[in-house]
Amino acid sequence: MNDILKIGGREFTNRLFTGTGKFRSRSLIPEMLKASGSEMITVALRRVDFDAGNENILEFIPKHITLLPNTSGARNCDEAVRIARIAREAGMGDFIKIEIITETKYLMPDNDETLKATKILAAEGFIVLPYVMPDLTYSYKLVDAGAAAVMPLGSAIGSNRGLKMKEIIEMIIENIDLPVVVDAGIGRPSQAAEAMELGADAVLVNTAISIADDPVGMGRAFSMAVQAGRLAYLARMGEESKTANASSPLTGFLR
């Protein structure tokens, strides 16, 4: 089947994006990538801890996988821009996931700062994937700012609560001419399938895979759920039938 997702000039046949956070052992990452077929994975940038041994996460990611560095840790636009520039200088390519979080209770993204950073980085040629609180009017602004995709959260990061923002995400999918990648909150494959049935272009799943007893098996499960959801969306599910009940005929006057 020829169903390709294009983001920033790159083509993806697998619509499950994954992350490298919280794996018990990094050697599970390449196995998970292989089992799931995921073609894009996030990485984060941190200060080196001189007292601990520094493993290079990149060694565990096969070359054909697109790296999506994130700006996690950034608390405002300037910090996110700085992290993005460092990542690019370090040879990570042009993809960047903007993640700016100031609120620490639920880890909600700061949409204002994210929009500013999107504008700046898109103008510098980055392929910007902003992680945002879903909002339609705001999404139009992201389009104008030059975002390459919109990444609305399904529910709070790591909450595994699924598509709590479903109605709004659906509006974004229907009205915004950019790939929509549901990020955060997806805890089960069935929730990933639900997002894809809605018409999401991809989902990004990290924690739900990495903290599973068997991350490799879970990666494969998510991948299959994403495929099933996508196929269902393309095959156009049957509608629940709606019957209207007007008491008297409305078109009787025509006869």
Partner: protein, 369 residues
Amino acid sequence: MSFLHELEKYENFDFEGYFNSVTADDVKKSIGKEKPGANDMLNLLSPAAEEFLEEMAKRSHLLTMQYFGGTISLYIPLYISNYCSNGCVYCGFSAGNKIPRKMLSMEEIETEALSIKKTGIKHLLVLTGEAEEKAGFDYIKPAIELLSKHFPSISVEMFPMSTEQYAELKKCGVDGLTVYQEVNDRTIYAQVHPFGRKSDYNWRLECPERGAKAGFRLINIGALYGLGDVRKEAFFNAMHAKYLDDKYPDTEIAVSFPRINHSEGNFKPQHRLSDRSFVQFLTAFRIFLPRVGLNVSTREKADFRDNLLPLGITRMSAGSITSVGGYAESEEDDVPQFDISDNRSVTETISMIKQKGYQPVLKDWEMIK
């Protein structure tokens, strides 16, 4: 990108073949769809859907109540000039027609405004023939400035202008634009618009979008049924409305369904939109575009208009006079642009709407300046 590119996608589409292939089952599915697409609209416009008018009407009624409640917005047209440089073969104001030409002075416009004001309707549609050299922007602008003192909401139906001109009119108090493509079929368009600025198909097709870009609140489009194949025309018009609705979320889109009636030119339409097809198309539009305003003018007969109320209509003209300057005093030889079929006064129209259980809306908004 403009709607031109959308139209091009259907250049080689076999409409006749598709319409004839639609089955009863296809129609039933499309009526019930929560999010109908272009194919569903084709199904709803097809001959097969003629057997499902009651089902379509019920769905349309339900959707209209859901999105608009039982409200009917009223507007009143004011013709201020009938000079025209276009040769539209179907129109009473056409340049070739030997009719008395009139252009209201500012004083006359004010007199008309005061007469109309008494009806209580606050949404005014100001119309002219399309004669840029005679009744051009320099005539229209002061006229609007004058009228905006009396009406909180003004739409214009005039020669297509540039985005800059629309933006300037917006500053003077215009918040809406009505412009009909008349016919989307290029060949027929060229035949029925043999000369004048209007013979430029693209300039007209992209006009509603220019209005949306200028920031108007309401854009009203339509096809003049009778000029081209009615199903195709309805489909193109629906796609145009959808295009505008998708691209300009801050603009309200409305659609009219004018049918050619007798006008001064004695034009014999090649195609006909029957009452049944009118109802079919109207309800199809509602199912396809639940949020779009659907407009019926006084071209239609009173009892037909009354029966359309529960079927999806959200806007109506009332108490219309389609000749120049007829509200204050009318003269015997005044020639209308088209014949009015519903001659009831505004008061009569309002009481009919109320009697049917709907709420007439005389004023929907006022821009805070």
